[in-house]
Symmetry: C2
Subunit: 156 residues, 2 copies
Amino acid sequence: MPLQVPGDAKIPARLRDLPTWLISRNYTRSNALLSDGFTTTGNGLRPYHYRLMTSLKDAGPVGQAELGRLSGIDRSDVANMLAELERRGLVSRVTDPDNRRRNIVTITGTGEEQLAALDAIIEEVQQQVVAPLTVRERQQLVRLLHKLLSEGPTGD
Amino acid sequence: MPLQVPGDAKIPARLRDLPTWLISRNYTRSNALLSDGFTTTGNGLRPYHYRLMTSLKDAGPVGQAELGRLSGIDRSDVANMLAELERRGLVSRVTDPDNRRRNIVTITGTGEEQLAALDAIIEEVQQQVVAPLTVRERQQLVRLLHKLLSEGPTGD
DNA sequence: CGCATCTCAGGAATACTGAGATCA
DNA sequence: CTGATCTCAGTAGTCCTGAGATGC
């Protein structure tokens, strides 16, 4: 449960308004809240697990490579995390008979239950994260953050 | 030079608009651009170093604990990073005669030169980061991100 | 052959914890 | 003794690289 974001006290002038700094500080804060949320229910699941499971539920059974693309997680970590989730019985993996390189990943019933529990946590954390903003500002923020991501991957 | 932010293709509906997700994706993107900027000039300095040095220049000679608070870096990492910077002659540390627990850290001339070079990079990266937004939107974004951080450290 | 998939080993940067030594 | 400071060792979670094995 991290939280080293200073209360915005006497942050150096050069840093204060830099988008990279503000994004970084907000990421840390957001992560702290997220991390607190996940640990207080202590099933040992983490953001990576949530991303995978919710992507899985949304997309239906898919291969790991595709799952990684959907959830923004590297192929290597996908393999690791799925092995964990499989061990816990939250997902299952079977070789695709039509393409035996591929593992078709499916969320299990237990997995869906866990996901529902995580969803509730996630929802509560969102409220905490945007708590300082008005409803209108929250919409603006979401729009702006989307726009930053939407125009080509790097903005070059 | 990371960059695994998907082009916002078919991100799961549940994730797409979550503030925590958007902040996380933007952090990754912002970091990728920052990291590229730092490595292309390859003096081996990283964001942590920049934060420390710019905080140091802004605040003048201070102790490490204070420096950590200003730059949002943990005491432990401050000690590590400053040892590196000192080895390179970019900062100097002397024991405070009035309080011998404390190391007074000062940026050196070479340090200021390096910092100026980093500042130029930082400035360029900021442009890249906010490139997708209009000028007005950039101001909105900065305001909103500030506000998220300003109302108490966690928003509780 | 090229190319995609999965897996494994491991590295890098950030954030954090705990403990010890020092000293006001 | 309390509490602040610095240092060190070590951990966790995220992001990423490289290489190998397999199969299209």
